[in-house]
Protein backbone atom coordinates (compact mmCIF):
# COMPACT_ATOMS: atom_id res chain seq x y z
CA UNK A 1 0.00 0.00 0.00
CA UNK A 2 2.74 2.37 1.03
CA UNK A 3 4.59 1.62 -2.17
CA UNK A 4 1.55 2.46 -4.27
CA UNK A 5 1.07 5.73 -2.43
CA UNK A 6 4.73 6.58 -2.97
CA UNK A 7 4.36 5.80 -6.68
CA UNK A 8 1.30 8.02 -6.99
CA UNK A 9 3.16 10.76 -5.15
CA UNK A 10 6.13 10.46 -7.52
CA UNK A 11 3.87 10.57 -10.56
CA UNK A 12 2.26 13.73 -9.22
CA UNK A 13 5.64 15.37 -8.76
CA UNK A 14 6.75 14.36 -12.26
CA UNK A 15 3.56 15.76 -13.78
CA UNK A 16 4.00 18.96 -11.81
CA UNK A 17 7.57 19.37 -13.05
CA UNK A 18 6.73 18.72 -16.69
CA UNK A 19 3.78 21.13 -16.47
CA UNK A 20 5.98 23.93 -15.16
CA UNK A 21 8.61 23.13 -17.78
CA UNK A 22 5.95 23.19 -20.50
CA UNK A 23 4.85 26.62 -19.39
CA UNK A 24 8.32 27.97 -20.07
CA UNK A 25 8.69 26.21 -23.42
CA UNK A 26 5.27 27.33 -24.57
CA UNK A 27 6.18 31.01 -24.62
CA UNK A 28 9.81 31.37 -25.69
CA UNK A 29 10.38 35.07 -25.25
CA UNK A 30 12.82 37.68 -26.44
CA UNK A 31 15.19 38.99 -23.78
CA UNK A 32 13.84 41.84 -21.67
CA UNK A 33 15.05 45.25 -22.91
CA UNK A 34 17.20 46.31 -19.97
CA UNK A 35 19.13 49.56 -20.10
CA UNK A 36 22.81 48.82 -20.57
CA UNK A 37 24.64 47.67 -17.45
CA UNK A 38 21.58 47.84 -15.22
CA UNK A 39 21.06 44.10 -14.74
CA UNK A 40 21.57 42.25 -12.43
CA UNK A 41 20.10 44.78 -10.04
CA UNK A 42 21.77 43.03 -7.11
CA UNK A 43 25.11 44.45 -8.28
CA UNK A 44 24.13 47.66 -6.51
CA UNK A 45 21.22 46.60 -4.34
CA UNK A 46 22.90 43.65 -2.61
CA UNK A 47 24.47 45.66 0.17
CA UNK A 48 21.72 48.27 0.44
CA UNK A 49 19.17 48.50 3.16
CA UNK A 50 15.59 47.99 1.98
CA UNK A 51 13.44 51.08 2.38
CA UNK A 52 9.79 50.21 1.75
CA UNK A 53 8.54 53.78 2.12
CA UNK A 54 6.89 55.17 -1.03
CA UNK A 55 8.95 58.17 -2.08
CA UNK A 56 10.41 60.04 -5.02
CA UNK A 57 13.82 58.66 -5.98
CA UNK A 58 16.37 61.50 -6.03
CA UNK A 59 19.78 59.79 -6.38
CA UNK A 60 19.22 56.89 -8.74
CA UNK A 61 16.72 55.83 -11.40
CA UNK A 62 15.86 59.50 -11.97
CA UNK A 63 15.14 58.81 -15.64
CA UNK A 64 12.18 56.64 -14.67
CA UNK A 65 9.02 58.70 -14.67
CA UNK A 66 6.29 56.41 -13.47
CA UNK A 67 3.21 57.02 -15.61
CA UNK A 68 1.26 53.85 -15.03
CA UNK A 69 -1.41 54.33 -12.36
CA UNK A 70 1.32 56.09 -10.36
CA UNK A 71 -1.04 57.21 -7.61
CA UNK A 72 -1.87 53.64 -6.70
CA UNK A 73 1.51 52.12 -7.24
CA UNK A 74 5.25 52.38 -6.89
CA UNK A 75 8.45 50.34 -7.37
CA UNK A 76 7.98 47.57 -4.83
CA UNK A 77 4.51 46.61 -6.03
CA UNK A 78 6.20 44.85 -8.94
CA UNK A 79 9.90 44.61 -8.00
CA UNK A 80 10.72 42.22 -5.20
CA UNK A 81 11.95 44.14 -2.16
CA UNK A 82 14.76 41.88 -0.98
CA UNK A 83 15.58 40.02 -4.20
CA UNK A 84 15.93 42.82 -6.74
CA UNK A 85 16.77 40.49 -9.65
CA UNK A 86 13.21 39.18 -9.54
CA UNK A 87 9.68 40.46 -9.88
CA UNK A 88 6.82 39.65 -7.59
CA UNK A 89 3.20 38.87 -8.32
CA UNK A 90 0.30 40.10 -6.21
CA UNK A 91 0.00 36.69 -4.54
CA UNK A 92 3.65 36.85 -3.46
CA UNK A 93 5.04 34.48 -6.10
CA UNK A 94 8.53 35.43 -7.22
CA UNK A 95 9.18 35.34 -10.98
CA UNK A 96 11.98 36.13 -13.41
CA UNK A 97 12.06 39.14 -15.69
CA UNK A 98 11.58 36.76 -18.64
CA UNK A 99 8.14 35.91 -17.23
CA UNK A 100 7.08 39.51 -16.73
CA UNK A 101 4.03 38.90 -18.94
CA UNK A 102 2.46 37.13 -15.98
CA UNK A 103 2.87 40.27 -13.92
CA UNK A 104 1.19 42.41 -16.60
CA UNK A 105 -1.52 39.77 -17.03
CA UNK A 106 -2.66 40.26 -13.44
CA UNK A 107 -4.46 43.46 -14.41
CA UNK A 108 -4.66 43.21 -18.22
CA UNK A 109 -6.41 39.87 -18.34
CA UNK A 110 -8.10 40.15 -21.72
CA UNK A 111 -4.90 41.40 -23.36
CA UNK A 112 -2.97 38.58 -21.69
CA UNK A 113 -5.43 36.07 -23.13
CA UNK A 114 -5.01 37.56 -26.63
CA UNK A 115 -1.23 37.66 -26.23
CA UNK A 116 -1.10 33.98 -25.34
CA UNK A 117 -3.17 33.22 -28.45
CA UNK A 118 -0.84 35.36 -30.56
CA UNK A 119 -3.40 38.06 -31.35
CA UNK A 120 -2.01 40.86 -29.20
CA UNK A 121 1.66 41.67 -29.63
CA UNK A 122 4.05 40.14 -32.06
CA UNK A 123 5.62 36.77 -32.76
CA UNK A 124 8.57 36.40 -35.09
CA UNK A 125 10.45 33.51 -36.66
CA UNK A 126 8.69 30.31 -37.65
CA UNK A 127 5.04 29.59 -37.01
CA UNK A 128 5.75 25.98 -37.95
CA UNK A 129 8.78 23.74 -37.77
CA UNK A 130 11.24 26.22 -36.31
CA UNK A 131 11.91 28.61 -33.49
CA UNK A 132 9.21 31.11 -32.71
CA UNK A 133 9.89 34.04 -30.44
CA UNK A 134 7.25 35.98 -28.56
CA UNK A 135 7.82 39.63 -27.89
CA UNK A 136 7.36 40.39 -24.21
CA UNK A 137 4.90 43.12 -23.21
CA UNK A 138 7.94 45.21 -22.25
CA UNK A 139 9.60 44.85 -25.67
CA UNK A 140 6.97 47.26 -27.01
CA UNK A 141 5.60 48.98 -23.88
CA UNK A 142 7.78 50.71 -21.34
CA UNK A 143 6.41 49.18 -18.13
CA UNK A 144 6.87 52.48 -16.30
CA UNK A 145 5.10 54.45 -19.06
CA UNK A 146 3.27 51.92 -21.21
CA UNK A 147 1.39 54.09 -23.69
CA UNK A 148 2.69 53.49 -27.23
CA UNK A 149 4.55 56.59 -28.48
CA UNK A 150 3.84 58.20 -31.89
CA UNK A 151 6.30 57.41 -34.68
CA UNK A 152 7.62 59.21 -37.71
CA UNK A 153 6.04 57.54 -40.74
CA UNK A 154 8.07 56.25 -43.67
CA UNK A 155 7.78 58.45 -46.79
CA UNK A 156 4.58 58.32 -48.86
CA UNK A 157 4.63 56.66 -52.27
CA UNK A 158 5.76 58.66 -55.29
CA UNK A 159 2.86 60.10 -57.27
CA UNK A 160 2.42 58.61 -60.75
CA UNK A 161 3.36 61.88 -62.47
CA UNK A 162 6.77 61.83 -60.74
CA UNK A 163 7.41 58.12 -61.23
CA UNK A 164 10.04 58.56 -63.95
CA UNK A 165 11.85 61.53 -62.52
CA UNK A 166 10.40 64.10 -64.88
Amino acid sequence: MKRVLLLIFLVFIAVGFSASAAQHDEYPVASPPFSEGIFPCSNCHAGMEVNTKKRELKDEHTSIKLHHAEKERWCLDCHHASNRDKLKLADGEIINFTESYRLCGQCHGNIYRDWKAGIHGKRVGSFRGGKRTYFLCVNCHNPHDPKFKPLKPEPPPIRPEQQYGK
Binding site: I119, V124, F127, L151, P156, R159
Partner: protein
Protein backbone atom coordinates in the same frame (compact mmCIF):
# COMPACT_ATOMS: atom_id res chain seq x y z
CA UNK B 1 -10.89 43.67 -108.00
CA UNK B 2 -8.52 40.74 -108.26
CA UNK B 3 -5.87 43.12 -109.53
CA UNK B 4 -5.80 44.89 -106.16
CA UNK B 5 -4.00 41.88 -104.66
CA UNK B 6 -1.14 42.17 -107.01
CA UNK B 7 2.30 40.63 -107.08
CA UNK B 8 3.64 43.82 -105.53
CA UNK B 9 1.39 43.45 -102.49
CA UNK B 10 2.43 39.88 -102.12
CA UNK B 11 6.11 40.79 -102.10
CA UNK B 12 5.48 43.62 -99.64
CA UNK B 13 3.72 41.24 -97.28
CA UNK B 14 6.40 38.62 -97.59
CA UNK B 15 9.21 41.05 -96.87
CA UNK B 16 7.41 42.37 -93.81
CA UNK B 17 6.99 38.83 -92.56
CA UNK B 18 10.65 38.13 -93.12
CA UNK B 19 11.59 41.29 -91.22
CA UNK B 20 9.41 40.23 -88.28
CA UNK B 21 10.99 36.80 -88.38
CA UNK B 22 14.45 38.31 -88.38
CA UNK B 23 13.75 40.54 -85.39
CA UNK B 24 12.35 37.55 -83.52
CA UNK B 25 15.49 35.67 -84.43
CA UNK B 26 17.72 38.42 -83.12
CA UNK B 27 15.77 38.44 -79.83
CA UNK B 28 16.50 34.81 -79.30
CA UNK B 29 19.83 34.47 -81.03
CA UNK B 30 21.63 33.43 -77.85
CA UNK B 31 20.99 29.99 -76.43
CA UNK B 32 19.50 31.40 -73.25
CA UNK B 33 17.30 33.76 -75.22
CA UNK B 34 16.06 30.93 -77.40
CA UNK B 35 15.33 28.80 -74.34
CA UNK B 36 13.49 31.67 -72.72
CA UNK B 37 11.40 32.22 -75.82
CA UNK B 38 10.49 28.54 -76.06
CA UNK B 39 9.87 28.04 -72.33
CA UNK B 40 6.68 26.10 -71.58
CA UNK B 41 3.92 27.09 -69.19
CA UNK B 42 4.92 26.43 -65.56
CA UNK B 43 2.23 23.78 -65.17
CA UNK B 44 3.36 21.91 -68.28
CA UNK B 45 7.04 21.76 -67.39
CA UNK B 46 8.54 18.53 -66.08
CA UNK B 47 10.82 18.66 -63.04
CA UNK B 48 13.90 18.50 -65.28
CA UNK B 49 12.62 21.34 -67.43
CA UNK B 50 11.94 23.40 -64.32
CA UNK B 51 15.49 22.77 -63.15
CA UNK B 52 16.82 23.93 -66.52
CA UNK B 53 14.77 27.12 -66.28
CA UNK B 54 15.99 27.74 -62.73
CA UNK B 55 19.61 27.23 -63.83
CA UNK B 56 19.17 29.61 -66.74
CA UNK B 57 17.59 32.26 -64.53
CA UNK B 58 20.24 31.90 -61.83
CA UNK B 59 22.93 32.44 -64.47
CA UNK B 60 21.06 35.46 -65.79
CA UNK B 61 20.75 37.00 -62.31
CA UNK B 62 24.40 36.24 -61.54
CA UNK B 63 25.39 38.13 -64.68
CA UNK B 64 23.09 41.04 -63.97
CA UNK B 65 23.55 41.45 -60.19
CA UNK B 66 26.81 39.60 -59.55
CA UNK B 67 25.14 37.51 -56.85
CA UNK B 68 24.25 33.84 -56.58
CA UNK B 69 20.47 33.71 -56.23
CA UNK B 70 18.65 30.66 -54.81
CA UNK B 71 15.41 30.19 -56.76
CA UNK B 72 12.92 27.87 -55.07
CA UNK B 73 9.99 26.20 -56.81
CA UNK B 74 8.68 24.73 -53.55
CA UNK B 75 5.07 23.71 -54.21
CA UNK B 76 2.10 24.24 -51.90
CA UNK B 77 1.84 21.77 -49.04
CA UNK B 78 -1.35 19.72 -48.65
CA UNK B 79 -3.54 20.87 -45.77
CA UNK B 80 -2.51 24.52 -45.94
CA UNK B 81 -4.65 27.49 -46.87
CA UNK B 82 -3.05 30.76 -45.88
CA UNK B 83 -5.02 33.52 -44.24
CA UNK B 84 -4.08 36.97 -43.04
CA UNK B 85 -5.41 39.11 -40.21
CA UNK B 86 -4.98 42.85 -39.79
CA UNK B 87 -5.97 44.63 -36.60
CA UNK B 88 -7.49 47.99 -37.51
CA UNK B 89 -7.57 49.09 -33.88
CA UNK B 90 -3.77 48.84 -33.68
CA UNK B 91 -2.45 50.07 -37.05
CA UNK B 92 -0.84 53.50 -36.75
CA UNK B 93 -0.05 54.00 -40.44
CA UNK B 94 3.75 54.15 -40.07
CA UNK B 95 4.38 52.32 -43.40
CA UNK B 96 7.13 50.11 -41.95
CA UNK B 97 5.39 47.17 -43.67
CA UNK B 98 5.51 48.86 -47.08
CA UNK B 99 9.28 49.21 -47.06
CA UNK B 100 9.99 45.84 -45.42
CA UNK B 101 7.97 44.29 -48.24
CA UNK B 102 9.90 46.18 -50.93
CA UNK B 103 13.18 44.99 -49.41
CA UNK B 104 12.11 41.36 -48.98
CA UNK B 105 10.45 41.03 -52.37
CA UNK B 106 12.98 42.79 -54.62
CA UNK B 107 10.68 45.50 -55.94
CA UNK B 108 12.00 48.30 -58.12
CA UNK B 109 13.12 51.02 -55.68
CA UNK B 110 12.69 54.29 -57.58
CA UNK B 111 11.88 55.39 -61.13
CA UNK B 112 9.73 53.37 -61.13
CA UNK B 113 8.87 52.87 -57.48
CA UNK B 114 6.77 49.74 -57.01
CA UNK B 115 5.03 48.87 -53.75
CA UNK B 116 2.72 45.99 -52.95
CA UNK B 117 1.19 47.49 -49.81
CA UNK B 118 -0.79 50.73 -49.88
CA UNK B 119 -1.66 52.23 -46.50
CA UNK B 120 -4.79 54.33 -46.77
CA UNK B 121 -5.89 56.90 -44.24
CA UNK B 122 -9.55 57.15 -43.36
CA UNK B 123 -11.46 59.67 -41.29
CA UNK B 124 -12.66 58.13 -38.07
CA UNK B 125 -16.39 57.61 -38.20
CA UNK B 126 -16.60 57.11 -41.94
CA UNK B 127 -15.31 53.59 -42.11
CA UNK B 128 -15.18 52.14 -44.72
CA UNK B 129 -15.71 55.07 -47.03
CA UNK B 130 -12.95 54.46 -49.51
CA UNK B 131 -13.97 57.51 -51.57
CA UNK B 132 -12.38 59.70 -48.89
CA UNK B 133 -9.27 57.58 -48.59
CA UNK B 134 -5.84 59.19 -48.87
CA UNK B 135 -2.57 57.32 -49.21
CA UNK B 136 -0.11 60.21 -49.70
CA UNK B 137 -0.50 61.45 -46.09
CA UNK B 138 2.79 62.62 -44.59
CA UNK B 139 2.56 64.14 -41.10
CA UNK B 140 5.43 64.56 -38.62
CA UNK B 141 4.20 61.66 -36.52
CA UNK B 142 1.52 59.01 -36.70
CA UNK B 143 -1.13 58.21 -35.60
CA UNK B 144 -2.90 61.53 -36.24
CA UNK B 145 -5.93 62.32 -34.11
CA UNK B 146 -9.22 61.75 -35.91
CA UNK B 147 -7.85 59.27 -38.44
CA UNK B 148 -7.41 55.58 -38.79
CA UNK B 149 -5.22 53.59 -41.14
CA UNK B 150 -5.91 50.61 -43.31
CA UNK B 151 -3.15 48.84 -45.22
CA UNK B 152 -4.39 47.22 -48.42
CA UNK B 153 -2.52 44.60 -50.41
CA UNK B 154 -3.47 41.54 -52.47
CA UNK B 155 -6.33 39.90 -50.59
CA UNK B 156 -5.55 36.43 -52.05
CA UNK B 157 -9.17 35.93 -53.08
CA UNK B 158 -10.56 32.43 -53.23
CA UNK B 159 -12.50 33.63 -56.27
CA UNK B 160 -9.91 35.93 -57.86
CA UNK B 161 -11.22 38.10 -60.71
CA UNK B 162 -7.65 38.80 -61.84
CA UNK B 163 -7.07 35.13 -62.61
CA UNK B 164 -10.25 34.80 -64.58
CA UNK B 165 -9.39 37.64 -66.98
CA UNK B 166 -5.80 36.65 -67.74
CA UNK B 167 -5.82 35.69 -71.43
CA UNK B 168 -2.70 33.53 -71.22
CA UNK B 169 -2.95 31.83 -67.80
CA UNK B 170 0.11 33.66 -66.52
CA UNK B 171 -1.53 34.09 -63.11
CA UNK B 172 -3.34 31.45 -61.07
CA UNK B 173 -4.29 30.42 -57.56
CA UNK B 174 -2.02 27.77 -56.08
CA UNK B 175 -3.57 25.03 -53.88
CA UNK B 176 -2.53 26.84 -50.68
CA UNK B 177 -4.59 29.83 -51.79
CA UNK B 178 -1.78 32.14 -52.92
CA UNK B 179 -2.43 33.93 -56.21
CA UNK B 180 0.86 33.85 -58.11
CA UNK B 181 2.26 35.28 -61.36
CA UNK B 182 4.72 33.60 -63.72
CA UNK B 183 6.65 36.65 -64.92
CA UNK B 184 8.05 34.69 -67.85
CA UNK B 185 4.54 33.96 -69.07
CA UNK B 186 3.00 37.40 -68.46
CA UNK B 187 2.42 39.39 -71.66
CA UNK B 188 1.84 42.69 -69.88
CA UNK B 189 -1.76 43.27 -71.01
CA UNK B 190 -2.75 44.43 -67.48
CA UNK B 191 -6.28 42.98 -67.69
CA UNK B 192 -5.70 41.61 -64.18
CA UNK B 193 -4.98 45.10 -62.86
CA UNK B 194 -8.24 46.35 -64.31
CA UNK B 195 -10.13 43.41 -62.82
CA UNK B 196 -8.73 43.68 -59.28
CA UNK B 197 -11.03 45.71 -57.00
CA UNK B 198 -8.25 46.19 -54.41
CA UNK B 199 -5.50 47.73 -56.60
CA UNK B 200 -3.47 44.73 -55.52
CA UNK B 201 -1.29 44.57 -58.61
CA UNK B 202 1.41 46.86 -60.00
CA UNK B 203 3.12 47.01 -63.37
CA UNK B 204 6.74 47.39 -64.41
CA UNK B 205 6.35 50.25 -66.88
CA UNK B 206 10.13 50.55 -67.07
CA UNK B 207 13.13 48.34 -66.44
CA UNK B 208 13.07 47.66 -62.66
CA UNK B 209 15.65 49.58 -60.70
CA UNK B 210 16.97 47.17 -58.08
CA UNK B 211 20.48 47.94 -56.76
CA UNK B 212 22.59 44.77 -56.69
CA UNK B 213 23.57 45.43 -53.09
CA UNK B 214 19.95 45.35 -51.97
CA UNK B 215 19.01 42.16 -53.78
CA UNK B 216 17.42 39.50 -51.55
CA UNK B 217 18.93 36.28 -52.85
CA UNK B 218 16.44 33.90 -51.22
CA UNK B 219 13.68 33.89 -53.80
CA UNK B 220 10.79 31.85 -55.16
CA UNK B 221 10.13 31.42 -58.86
CA UNK B 222 6.49 32.52 -58.42
CA UNK B 223 7.29 35.25 -55.93
CA UNK B 224 10.15 37.61 -55.24
CA UNK B 225 12.66 36.74 -57.96
CA UNK B 226 13.83 39.87 -59.80
CA UNK B 227 11.33 40.95 -62.43
CA UNK B 228 11.71 42.46 -65.88
CA UNK B 229 10.07 45.33 -67.74
CA UNK B 230 6.46 44.84 -68.87
CA UNK B 231 5.27 42.34 -66.28
CA UNK B 232 2.69 42.55 -63.51
CA UNK B 233 3.58 41.77 -59.89
CA UNK B 234 1.79 41.52 -56.55
CA UNK B 235 1.89 40.42 -52.92
CA UNK B 236 2.25 36.64 -52.47
CA UNK B 237 2.07 36.58 -48.63
CA UNK B 238 5.88 36.15 -48.98
CA UNK B 239 5.51 32.75 -50.66
CA UNK B 240 9.26 32.16 -50.23
CA UNK B 241 8.88 32.46 -46.45
CA UNK B 242 5.46 31.01 -45.62
CA UNK B 243 6.01 27.76 -47.49
CA UNK B 244 8.96 27.24 -45.14
CA UNK B 245 6.83 28.03 -42.11
CA UNK B 246 8.16 31.55 -41.57
CA UNK B 247 6.05 34.65 -40.99
CA UNK B 248 5.79 37.16 -43.87
CA UNK B 249 8.16 40.14 -43.72
CA UNK B 250 5.35 42.64 -43.05
CA UNK B 251 4.19 40.63 -40.01
CA UNK B 252 7.69 40.61 -38.55
CA UNK B 253 8.41 44.30 -39.02
CA UNK B 254 5.14 45.78 -37.74
CA UNK B 255 5.96 47.76 -34.57
CA UNK B 256 2.43 47.48 -33.17
CA UNK B 257 1.77 43.79 -33.85
CA UNK B 258 -1.10 44.67 -36.14
CA UNK B 259 -0.46 41.89 -38.62
CA UNK B 260 -1.37 38.23 -38.07
CA UNK B 261 -0.82 35.22 -40.25
CA UNK B 262 -1.64 31.54 -40.24
CA UNK B 263 -3.16 28.42 -41.74
CA UNK B 264 -6.94 28.64 -42.09
CA UNK B 265 -7.19 24.84 -42.03
CA UNK B 266 -5.39 24.54 -38.67
CA UNK B 267 -7.93 25.02 -35.85
CA UNK B 268 -5.14 26.05 -33.46
CA UNK B 269 -3.68 28.78 -35.65
CA UNK B 270 -3.65 32.45 -34.75
CA UNK B 271 -5.80 33.31 -37.74
CA UNK B 272 -8.50 30.86 -36.71
CA UNK B 273 -8.49 32.23 -33.16
CA UNK B 274 -9.04 35.78 -34.34
CA UNK B 275 -11.76 34.85 -36.82
CA UNK B 276 -13.60 32.97 -34.08
CA UNK B 277 -13.08 35.51 -31.29
CA UNK B 278 -12.89 38.97 -32.85
CA UNK B 279 -15.09 41.16 -34.99
CA UNK B 280 -13.82 40.58 -38.52
CA UNK B 281 -14.76 41.83 -41.95
CA UNK B 282 -13.39 41.43 -45.43
CA UNK B 283 -12.95 44.26 -47.87
CA UNK B 284 -15.58 44.61 -50.63
CA UNK B 285 -17.03 41.26 -49.68
CA UNK B 286 -20.11 42.05 -51.76
CA UNK B 287 -18.07 41.47 -54.94
CA UNK B 288 -18.04 37.75 -54.11
CA UNK B 289 -14.25 37.68 -54.35
CA UNK B 290 -14.04 35.71 -51.08
CA UNK B 291 -10.79 37.28 -49.80
CA UNK B 292 -8.56 35.44 -47.34
CA UNK B 293 -7.52 38.74 -45.77
CA UNK B 294 -9.44 39.48 -42.58
CA UNK B 295 -9.56 42.96 -41.09
CA UNK B 296 -10.48 42.87 -37.43
CA UNK B 297 -10.87 44.96 -34.31
CA UNK B 298 -9.15 43.70 -31.18
CA UNK B 299 -10.34 46.56 -28.98
Amino acid sequence: MENRHSRRDFIKLMSMGALAGLSLGSLSCTKAGREEFLQKHFHEMTETEKKQVIRRLEEKYLKKYGKQVQISTQPAEAGTLWGYGLDLSRCIGCRRCVYACVKENNQSRIHPQLQWIRVIRLKKGSLINLENAEHYYNPETVPEPGFMYMPVQCQQCENPPCVRVCPVNATWKDPDGIVVVDYNWCIGCRYCMAACPYKGRVFNWAEPNLPAGELNTEVHYLGNRPRMKNVVEKCTFCIQRVRQGRYPACVEVCPTGTRKFGNLLDPNSEIRYLIENKRVFRLKEDFNTDPKFYYFFSA
